[in-house]
């Protein structure tokens, strides 16, 4: 029998779950049930659920919602675009969106639009293979580049032969993966170790089509690149004729309109964007790159197809996002970064007060907290126990009205206000107290 105290959200979840597998539209291999919140509305940094609860949204739909909810100028731009021309292959505001990306992103000599990060990253691999005539790519431990068979999850069993294979306990592992697809196409190394990378290139560099990396590893715990690491990666790729691909799905826009590549001063050959480049309201991914590589699309040697590629609403969203965020020399993003630093210091102060070991690390627009004493130095350190503790705190935050992105990422938006910071401080105190108690209960001796 259904308890009478069941929340409207849980009741709705049960209804949805009858037809929607797991009651969610996406899943990794996590061994527990997820009961998502169903929202009825949102404004600026706040969201409201079916039970009338208010939340500070630092989840921001995996970081995509960089303009906040119901942003007036952005919403109007989408409405205008819908009324003018809803679905055609090419419209008369493509050029604005392309020129804005070209003006801000160092590697964006040419740009193609797609829909999802998974799909556009595969197109980048295809371009790199076509340009080099080589098959294999190199990727790094605990980075994430979409949910295609050849690039998601896995682990190296023998460091002497660093190819990724499936392993038990991989939350990014999946049944039904095409047999051998990771081992045949790729290598995997620990990230942030320049000596290891150099040694690898000496042995395998001439067989590589490309290296794919997050320039700051947000998926592996928001880990900044070690000084000189990306520069060394860049020079090795140039020396061995390997295409360097930055996956800027998260860092793009969040680290500045020029992405991590501009902020860090290292320009890849190709880069992939998504999420925040279109303000979060509609999906757009983008492949940006050097003209000589992108010309492989121009001369039709490489195929990149898709019904909705470059759809008008998406182009309007990219244009509006770049226009809003570039105004007054990027004032909105600067303010967002300033307030994000304040979120960080509030969290650290309140953790000290609660007696919970905690660090906050990574770029201001895409930082993560971790329930440990010292920052992670490489993504391989982000193990199950730490993830579990981070999840415990994220759960406590949700209970107290603050939404944190998976697993412990803090995604501010350009409309984050001082009132939001005060709200965060009051809720963080409660959440950290609760989390400390749960962590003690679960992990204490």
């Amino acid at each position: 029998m259904t308890p009478t105290t069941e929340s409207a959200n849980r009741r709705y979840h049960r209804r949805v779950k009858r037809l929607l597998p797991g009651g969610v539209h996406y899943n990794f291999n996590m061994p527990w049930e997820e009961v998502p919140l169903h929202f009825t509305g949102g404004e600026r940094s706040r969201l409201y659920d079916m039970d009338g609860n208010e939340y500070l949204d630092l989840y921001a739909r995996f970081g995509a919602m960089i303009l906040g909810h119901a942003e007036e100028e952005y919403t109007k731009a989408l409405e205008d675009a819908m009324r003018r021309v809803l679905c055609v292959s090419h419209c008369d505001f493509d050029a604005d969106a392309l020129e804005l990306m070209n003006a801000h992103i160092p590697s964006a000599e040419m740009v193609r639009f797609g829909l999802s990060g998974t799909e556009i990253l595969q197109t980048a691999l295809r371009l790199a293979r076509a340009a080099t005539g080589r098959n294999r790519f190199l990727r790094f431990e605990n980075h994430y580049h979409g949910n295609a068979d050849n690039i998601m999850g896995g682990r190296v069993a023998d460091p002497g032969h660093p190819v990724p294979t499936d392993f038990k306990g991989d939350y990014k592992g999946t049944a039904g993966r095409a047999a051998g697809v990771m081992a045949e196409q790729s290598y995997m190394l620990p990230w942030n170790d320049a000596e290891l990378l150099e040694a690898f290139f000496r042995e395998h560099g001439e067989t590589l089509a490309c290296v794919v990396t997050e320039p700051a590893c947000v998926n592996g715990g928001s880990i900044d690149p070690a000084p000189g690491y990306l520069e060394r990666m860049r020079s090795l790729c140039t020396e061995y004729g390997v295409v360097l691909i930055f996956d800027e799905m998260i860092t793009g826009v969040r680290m500045g309109l020029g992405g991590a590549q501009k902020a860090l001063g290292v320009t890849p050959d190709l880069s992939t964007f998504g999420k925040a480049i279109s303000g979060g309201g509609v999906p757009v991914s983008a492949l940006a790159g050097r003209r000589e590589l992108m010309e492989l699309l121009e001369n039709k040697k490489v195929v990149h197809a898709g019904t909705y590629n470059g759809y008008p609403l998406g182009s309007a969203a990219v244009r509006a996002t770049f226009e809003i965020l570039s105004r007054d020399e990027g004032a909105a993003l600067r303010a967002m970064h300033r307030r994000a630093e304040r979120l960080r210091s509030i969290l650290e102060e309140e953790a000290r007060r609660a007696g919970l070991p905690l660090v906050v690390q990574g770029p201001a627009g895409a930082a993560s907290y971790h329930c440990r004493e010292t920052p992670l130095e490489h993504p391989g350190q982000y193990d199950f126990e730490l993830m579990s503790k981070d999840i415990i705190l994220a759960t406590a935050f949700q209970r107290h009205g603050v939404l944190i992105s998976s697993i412990s990422r803090i995604y501010p938006n350009a409309r984050l206000s001082d009132e939001d910071l005060e709200f965060f401080q009051s809720r963080a105190r409660l959440a950290l107290g609760d989390a400390q108690q749960s962590i003690d209960e679960i992990y204490g001796s």
């Binding site: 996590m30 061994p31 527990w32 049930e33 038990k168 306990g169 199950f384 759960t395 679960i442 992990y443």
Partner: protein
Amino acid sequence: MDQDHIKVVLTKEIAAELAIAPGEIDEDTSFMRLGVSSIQALKIINRLRKELGIDINPVALFEFKTVEDISAYLAEETD
């Protein structure tokens, strides 16, 4: 360690966490279908660790998602 004993302890801990009777738990139903949340799963595994006095790799949860499978795995591990 005896699998039946592990099964009894595991069922008791899941029931306590979900506030239901142990008899209501089907051994072949996955944690997810039982409605176990992330925090509850971590608490259950930890209590099991303490009660049985064994070290449990939490990664086991990813591979062995039912009472039957987890207890069989732990019984084999502690043999």
